[in-house]
Symmetry: C2
Subunit: 414 residues, 2 copies
């Protein structure tokens, strides 16, 4: 018998509870193991009474740490008080399953260390990519590979907004509003649209993939708030979509890691991922490119991943292969490969800007003003040896001409 | 220390040997376990001497069954003598890893039974989808789901041929020849182009997904030898690609299973899978659609999966969750959902055929003769309530008109 207690009963928690009830008979039949959800911690028992069998609800956290409990599911989200509760559960030698990417990105190494020392498991498959089985695939199935790169769409909210901007010519604010109305974006969308959510997930993926601890604060993070309808016109001209990509890649033996809006070919693997879907493209030296696609969030996709962690813990007598407490990685935030970029220079000194562009880049295609009718702007696709070279040009031109803003977007060809 | 012996050293075997050597240090560092490839069985030692360290080569199969050996890798392919060797290894309480889909599709249930009884593992991740981690994802990561359907491109050879026919207007014979020249098709391509290879893989996937034993001989199998350039013109007209799909799906609580050329929308998930790539689309009741894409064959993708099985066995103290000896499934080979189909009726009695078509189907669009200039043929897209209804029409029209052949291709809209 496996006795499970759960912290929180919001969207994720309710889904997990339903999945546990639904799979009890099958679990018993196939694995001869009884799943018992013994206690669920909620703030207000009356609020949840109708949707749950009330005898398992409690507002007393001590009941979660009861000695009979084998596995604690953390489904509260956020860092406080999740961090303290998870730590306490592990110290009490209870296995913990969580979907909380904020918690793992922030305290994963410490918590896994505590879990190891106490001979219990800390599992967090649902923290990245919702129901897509990416952490287990990286840590177990691709274990014979040296991972060369990860390129991923890890945030459904921003992918939904960018899809609407691209396919239905909506502007950013309207697309965000629609996402909020449909429940794909929260009332306060900052963590999503600023790229923080994707960066936390990328830090978890990269730590496992590259066997070095990647702190999410060391990742270069640009969100999508700066993307406008004109950017999509330029992208269209190049046969591209704009996607918020989470990228980590070994470039000249250094680890590059960034979350940024990037142009990808419309017919490429990532260019085709629409709306709230997530996709993770992993390039391993043996397996080549492997792509995992699915819903990255939502009640049941997330619960599906949480449930697989529970099943793993119950069936497994071995220690986890999830390693998180590697040495810290030095993270490079500058793109080192030769690539094409879109440059948009806001200036009234158009002629001077164009001269400077053609002088600087041997491979430069300036987009004709007539095409997009943008006053006070020069836009060009340039090929640059590296991002550092491009940044030097940007600094340089800022000294030569009056410019309000220079915007750059990477075009990813692979 | 884990002592490994291998049967065979062709493409897959060489890849596995290289991956074992390459990962030894990392394995030791991360998991404190020594990997030793002790013996490799080959027919002719001299033939392999240059590429391998000769001290591990042997042509005496008894050395493989030496008492020091913990894990036997079967990399010979085919059923004979693989079946006998694998059985013997399991009976001697050695773990076995294989990439052999023919062996597993034919004898998987018996061999897994022997493995269970002897307390050892039989693993075969590489048998389906090459390096794509699909079996573990199905049996462990999606364990909380009831699987509703699997739709997959499981054979790279046929997908390469169909891609060339579609994108480069090649005919079947030229595309097959090119595939053979590039090493994507074997000299005798029968198992691939007739759909047997895909059917064997589908039987393995379906057995795990639906928890009923699906015999590959009960699957309806149509290959691609019958697909001609005209089919691609019709597909083009509908905005479709033709793909050899391996499909299993619960339809009205019955399991439908078939391998067949199917039209899928060009911009759909499976319509976009090109050349030698494989893709598996799994629809689970909790997780929704999850898609796994990657190279389904080749030395290192296959070795990557074999290596992950080895790693699993070494690190794991638990019994596998791979179950294969379920009760036998009743397999339905008729498509039960209302769908659109392409019908091509070879006949000189065109008018009569057209009359019969419009009489029979309320939703029928006959393709104008001028469009494709096909003498002696009536082609139409019809909507039929089920495949059985369509088949009754085909029987019916065969009685009414003189026809050499009637061809039908399903159009999959989801």
């Amino acid at each position: 018998m496996a006795c499970i207690a759960m912290l929180g009963c919001g969207t994720v928690g309710s889904g997990v509870a339903k999945l546990i009830y639904k799979n009890r008979d099958r679990f018993k039949k196939n694995l001869n193991e009884e799943l018992i959800l013994s206690k669920v911690l909620v703030k207000d028992i009356n609020k949840h009474k109708e949707k749950n069998k009330d005898y398992i609800l409690t507002n007393d956290v001590e009941e979660i740490f009861n000695e009979n409990v084998d596995i604690v599911i953390e489904a509260m989200g956020g860092i406080n008080p999740s961090y303290e509760y998870v730590k306490r559960a592990l110290l009490l030698k209870k296995h913990v399953v969580t979907a909380n990417k904020d918690l793992i990105a922030e305290h994963g190494a410490e918590l896994l260390d505590i879990a190891n020392k106490n001979g219990v498991e800390l599992r967090f498959e649902a923290s990245v990519g919702g129901g897509i089985p990416i952490l287990k695939s990286l840590s177990e199935c691709l274990v014979g590979n040296k991972i060369k790169s990860i390129k991923a769409i890890l945030n459904g909210t921003t992918n939904f907004i960018l899809s609407k901007m691209s396919k239905e010519n909506m502007n950013y604010n309207d697309a965000l509003k629609l996402a909020q109305e449909l429940g794909f974006a929260e009332a306060n969308p900052e963590s999503d649209v600023m790229g923080y959510d994707a960066a936390r997930k990328l830090s978890i993926l990269s730590t496992i993939a590259f066997e070095k601890r990647v702190n999410w604060r060391n990742i270069k993070i640009s969100g999508i708030t700066n993307i406008d309808t004109e950017d999509f016109k330029y992208a269209q001209r190049e046969g591209c979509e704009i996607k918020l990509l989470a990228m980590s890649e070994l470039q000249n033996d250094e680890l590059y890691a960034a979350v940024s809006p990037v142009m990808v070919r419309k017919n490429s693997t990532l260019g085709r991922i629409e709306n709230e879907y997530n996709a993770i493209l992993v390039d391993g030296d043996a397996v080549g490119d492997v792509v995992f696609t699915g819903k990255g969030a939502g009640m049941f996709p997330t619960a599906s991943a949480v449930f697989s962690d529970i099943a793993d813990i119950i069936q497994s007598k071995r220690e986890s292969t999830l390693i998180f407490n590697y040495d810290k990685a030095d993270v490079n935030t500058l793109w080192k490969r030769e690539s094409k970029w879109l440059l948009r220079i806001k200036t009234e000194e158009r002629i001077k800007a164009m001269e400077t562009l053609t002088e600087y880049f041997s491979n430069c295609s300036i987009i004709s003003k007539e095409l997009y009718n943008l006053d006070g702007e020069v836009a060009a696709f340039v090929k640059s040896q590296s991002e550092a070279v491009l940044d030097r040009f940007i600094d340089d031109i800022k000294e030569r001409i009056n410019t309000e803003e220079i915007k750059k977007i990477l075009i990813l060809e692979d």
